[in-house]
Symmetry: D2
Subunit: 323 residues, 4 copies
Amino acid sequence: MKRIGVFTSGGDSPGMNACIRAVVRASIYHGIEVYGIHRGYKGMVKGEIYKMDSHSASNIIQKGGTILRSARSKEFMTPEGRKQAYEQLQQHGIEGLVAIGGDGTFTGANIFYEEYGIPTVGAPGTIDNDLYGTDFTIGYDTAVNTALDAIDKIRDTADSHDRVFFIEVMGRDSGYIAIPCAIGGGAEIVMIPETETSIEYVVDTLRTGWNRSKTSFIVIVAEGDDAGNANEIAAKVQHELPHMDARVTILGHVQRGGSPTAADRMLASQMGVACVEGLLQGRKCEMAGIINRELVYTPFIDTITKDKLINPQFLKLVDILSV
Amino acid sequence: MKRIGVFTSGGDSPGMNACIRAVVRASIYHGIEVYGIHRGYKGMVKGEIYKMDSHSASNIIQKGGTILRSARSKEFMTPEGRKQAYEQLQQHGIEGLVAIGGDGTFTGANIFYEEYGIPTVGAPGTIDNDLYGTDFTIGYDTAVNTALDAIDKIRDTADSHDRVFFIEVMGRDSGYIAIPCAIGGGAEIVMIPETETSIEYVVDTLRTGWNRSKTSFIVIVAEGDDAGNANEIAAKVQHELPHMDARVTILGHVQRGGSPTAADRMLASQMGVACVEGLLQGRKCEMAGIINRELVYTPFIDTITKDKLINPQFLKLVDILSV
Amino acid sequence: MKRIGVFTSGGDSPGMNACIRAVVRASIYHGIEVYGIHRGYKGMVKGEIYKMDSHSASNIIQKGGTILRSARSKEFMTPEGRKQAYEQLQQHGIEGLVAIGGDGTFTGANIFYEEYGIPTVGAPGTIDNDLYGTDFTIGYDTAVNTALDAIDKIRDTADSHDRVFFIEVMGRDSGYIAIPCAIGGGAEIVMIPETETSIEYVVDTLRTGWNRSKTSFIVIVAEGDDAGNANEIAAKVQHELPHMDARVTILGHVQRGGSPTAADRMLASQMGVACVEGLLQGRKCEMAGIINRELVYTPFIDTITKDKLINPQFLKLVDILSV
Amino acid sequence: MKRIGVFTSGGDSPGMNACIRAVVRASIYHGIEVYGIHRGYKGMVKGEIYKMDSHSASNIIQKGGTILRSARSKEFMTPEGRKQAYEQLQQHGIEGLVAIGGDGTFTGANIFYEEYGIPTVGAPGTIDNDLYGTDFTIGYDTAVNTALDAIDKIRDTADSHDRVFFIEVMGRDSGYIAIPCAIGGGAEIVMIPETETSIEYVVDTLRTGWNRSKTSFIVIVAEGDDAGNANEIAAKVQHELPHMDARVTILGHVQRGGSPTAADRMLASQMGVACVEGLLQGRKCEMAGIINRELVYTPFIDTITKDKLINPQFLKLVDILSV
């Protein structure tokens, strides 16, 4: 393998740039050429492909977002689109790909390999952390710290006004972000998609606290919770507890941005190098990851189909700590 | 005057604790006693009044929120409530008050003085900055920096995905927070209550940018804008520009919390000392403030009835900088 | 066991308060009483021992430092001192101890158990991370992020002025802090106690970079490096490369403070609960830790005598990434 | 005037990039061309001059340092060097200059104008704030907040260990940075070049506090204080008070970097526009500034020769607040 391409795909996450940098530097270190593909599969189809050198990756390790940009591509979902993408890669002499993204990205890479034999090694780039094959995904630690920083600020005002705050954090399918936000943010309750949390339980817990003269509360809600979104839950609780002053904050897209934490820069750097070295070892359709501090490669198909479960101890921890 | 009380009232703002600390320390410095009144007028009515010493104000200068807490009080709006408040103060021997809050707080203090002759000197404690009688209010600088920090993060993801972000910042009646967020956040458009901004203008500006191949945009919306809230505005714009990917983030209560900036700690410290010294000089029903770096006292009635206008140059600046 | 004591000892680290909070809450959860011992062994000897309730641990999870304070105690190193400490504990009815600290702390606890039979379970509280028996210590992640934040700022000015910066981070005996600072900070060279790095190597690397028209460099130096401290190293390098503009920054004690990161709050919370539960299980002279995301207890003697080695892959990573 | 050049010179300061951006955008807005001159006068002599467009100033408003870099130039101090610089400007058709820097920068611009008639309008770009002709300089607010953030962290550890910390902040000739650090950082003493502070006073103040059972102290030292640097002062104090545990932290170059605060972005944006508009109005050898929230232009000669005095009220404030 003499020439590879790198791209970011799906929702951006902090540390993607650190990963791109590592891919570029590892390529140079191992004597191969590297091209940046802009806007993910969309740019692959359209041929937005540019040579990168050591300098193109300078001074980006600390930046949020992705300098290669990201996008969804309807064309790549069609056989014609993938054919075009293949021709673009051929034209640039690209023999292997590094994909930084999540399971949607890897699904595309799998199909592409079956059709055209271009191998892809992936890096887990998503803030959600619900990706089988790695303990942590690139951007997760930063997203949690960003959310926690906001929660600390909200607690200042919650305490000052004796209020109940329902804070919605990201996590459409999982509580990976919500759990450390709840434990680290000193929340009384956490509501996540993996477990059922009834409105009755929330109402009872708040009422009990109130009766013990606790006057401010924080409830962390993962956006995909089965009881509804934070606004809906707050409205129901407020209805039951009209004497309390319930407020809602939806943290939203701030959780995707910002300078990556040390842990995310470390992980992203390791993953970038591992992707390049994986391609050079002849790997195809595998994602690099760190499990128990060891580098592992997991077939894309497993990252897509297998579930990564949350440690149930953490839910117990929320209960103990909110005594 | 031998003994004074201090309280915080209305929405909390970062720097209130630094101001409380300065009130306590200045009291000790000038040889008078100081009592903390909890939960504003509510606690005054109920007698939640506690002696403070140098130590009670230790290690709070950097904290968000208010250790004295804040609340709204319906009782204080009634003659009976104020009578009770007066009796509580009498009982504790409190002869003067320092009120840290906004115009609602000062309105109450004015009436209270007329009825019972207890003088109050106020410190401008609100993140909104729309208070006549001071260039800046305590908490404003912190709120703007907090919002800007969030906007920086959102721009990371906006740039990575070619999106239009509508970001709603605080400001029910004014664009004081929105303006520096727009200028400092590199926004293309700012929408504030003080000026009319039509949806047509927004659509035109975005379309023009798009046609010049600009692909990501930030629009800052003050919550009180006449064109609607950020969700409504975004929906209207999205309808006109269906090819763009519009997203909304409402920053909300994070803007109230957090450790105060250097400027807010300085201002809060100066104001706290000025309130105590104002009381000792025999002032009553006046708010301390800084205008052109000089300490001034402004009658409460002026802070309540007069408008503080935004510098129109700043709106032009947004235009120039988004070229 | 009906009543336990908790104390912090040795250098403070961010997350100690989160751990204290977890000890308090877990005690209440499990129906036992908990006393805070101030200033470590010093306060134990002197009897600075106070009952804690749920409220004493409120609103401290986000605070740096330790509300129980820390100190060195010469008295506790003497048999008389330990006798006095034992009598104090007896007097307060304390049957077991939670010690948050490092190997010096655990050495004392071991001796104390042999002499008086008071069991101690420890939590790894040190920013240095060089403690056998846990993947990470409480405060380490925060210290690294604090250092990295400073390094990011220094790189701004290094790049603007074409300078070589020698940045000294904490680590008297190990490169645990230096390594992620180097990888995450985009440094060209890292100098740690575990490996020999000659001045010649530094000079050669910088000269080679310079000749490839690279004009700004960052060298991370662990304070305990064998080649000297950052000032000494910089002077030697400057002597060999007089045309370069070498500067030194010693980060110092800022690395000990600050609000703990999410990872440190999580770890501290888990450790605090594990210490209390460990005591209730009858453990003595063991430290709680997390290895490969599982809770483990390690005898104090092992934490004191065994080495925790740095992953040699990380040094290679610095080389690859600075290509 | 059809074409201007912009450069940064002297020590870099946060907000210089925001100012460059404003210069570029204002030039486009007013229909003139703008060239970036790299490395200040050094690059002007060597002809490191490149055309800038709207895009070259994209996404830099939040960045520390200066994308145009800065340097000292010995050549520009000679008539031959200035001749060469003039020829370079001629060659590029540059008729006016915007200089972002401090008094050294403006001195050079003055001489250059006298010799070659090229007008310069300056923006106050220095963290030190001791520049006559503006209330605040670009970068000052950020530097103070960065220092304060570090001081907050150090106070965590000072409080935990009952220590006296001597913290050295920037300020070779003035206490502008030291003063808000002391007031905002809750310091007991501040030592600045403008006033004499004897070691005896420091020793007395600490001893008095100690005797009132205060056990941790913070002393802020401006680097240019007449009593010596922080290390020297600490050694002398430690000698007199051997029972106290004195520590030193020198904040150093971190104070120059980092993302600019809202206030610095606002100021930098206003200054950049004012420089371009000043040139278009025919100004020469003047610095733009903000005094009492109004835009003013001050002759370079005044900015160089006149002193800007510190408000003596602030020193009294330190005394009152450390009661």
